[in-house]
Amino acid sequence: MTDNSDSATQLRPGLWATVNERYPGSMITKENYVPLAKLHKPLSESRLTFISTAGVQPRGTLPFDTVHPIGDYTFRRVPSDSKPSELEIHQLKYPTAGATRDLNVIFPIERLQELASDGVIGNLAPNFFSFIGYNMDAERLERTLAERLADAVVAEEADIALLSPA
């Protein structure tokens, strides 16, 4: 499959339908779009935060509950000045072949640190945020985790947010 990949087709097709068929209600479906927020500053002056569902967390913090049948609706803060060696992954639902060798393939913390020091972006928020993508109750995720995490992003005075749903 990988050798026949092209740039416009996802490698693993039918993901939404496959999961939704087996676990109805677990996949998010929206009918409309939210209005775009405006950028108030150039990128070179903006504070960026990064939000990942990859289950990356600082070593020594309470591991995500990766075996709970309905998921784990908590999040962890990951200091944006962390080194990859200070972080570990607790997540079962995506291939970590690349990430175990170079965390940046799913949590590009070093690249973001470089872009900030090169002045492409203004600076990094004190923390990035992480949770696990395996959450089977989409409504609960939106009502609890999404709201709490969004409030935490605001509290860190981030101007822009990059997200990576693993």
Binding site: S7, D102, I106, P108, I160, A166
Partner: protein, 95 residues
């Protein structure tokens, strides 16, 4: 999640490897990369590609004109893997 942050006035952009999930969840802005799950920023030690994907997302953040716009990276997974192998050889990480 992304929508909740955007609704608080903070512009957001996500990297997706699953266009169908993106079509259903309707984030405000997304960049599609045709890569394997768990490898949204490419292949190990391929810092240039990792950086390029983040920059593509930042460009989309600035240039997207309507909510729901999905930007596509002109890159294939096969190419990313080939380049990754080459880089690992050069770094002496692969024979």
């Amino acid at each position: 999640m992304q929508r909740a942050i955007e609704q608080r006035g903070i512009p957001t952009v996500s990297i997706t490897v699953a266009l169908d999930v993106t079509e259903h969840s309707k984030p405000p802005r997304a960049v599609f990369v045709p890569f394997m799950m768990g490898h949204h920023f490419g292949t190990p030690f391929h810092a240039e590609l990792q950086r390029r994907i983040i920059k593509e997302a930042l460009t989309h953040l600035v240039e997207a004109e309507r909510s729901g716009e999905v930007r596509k990276m002109s890159m294939t997974w096969a190419r990313a893997r080939r380049d990754g192998v080459e880089i690992e050889r050069r770094l002496g990480l692969k024979a």
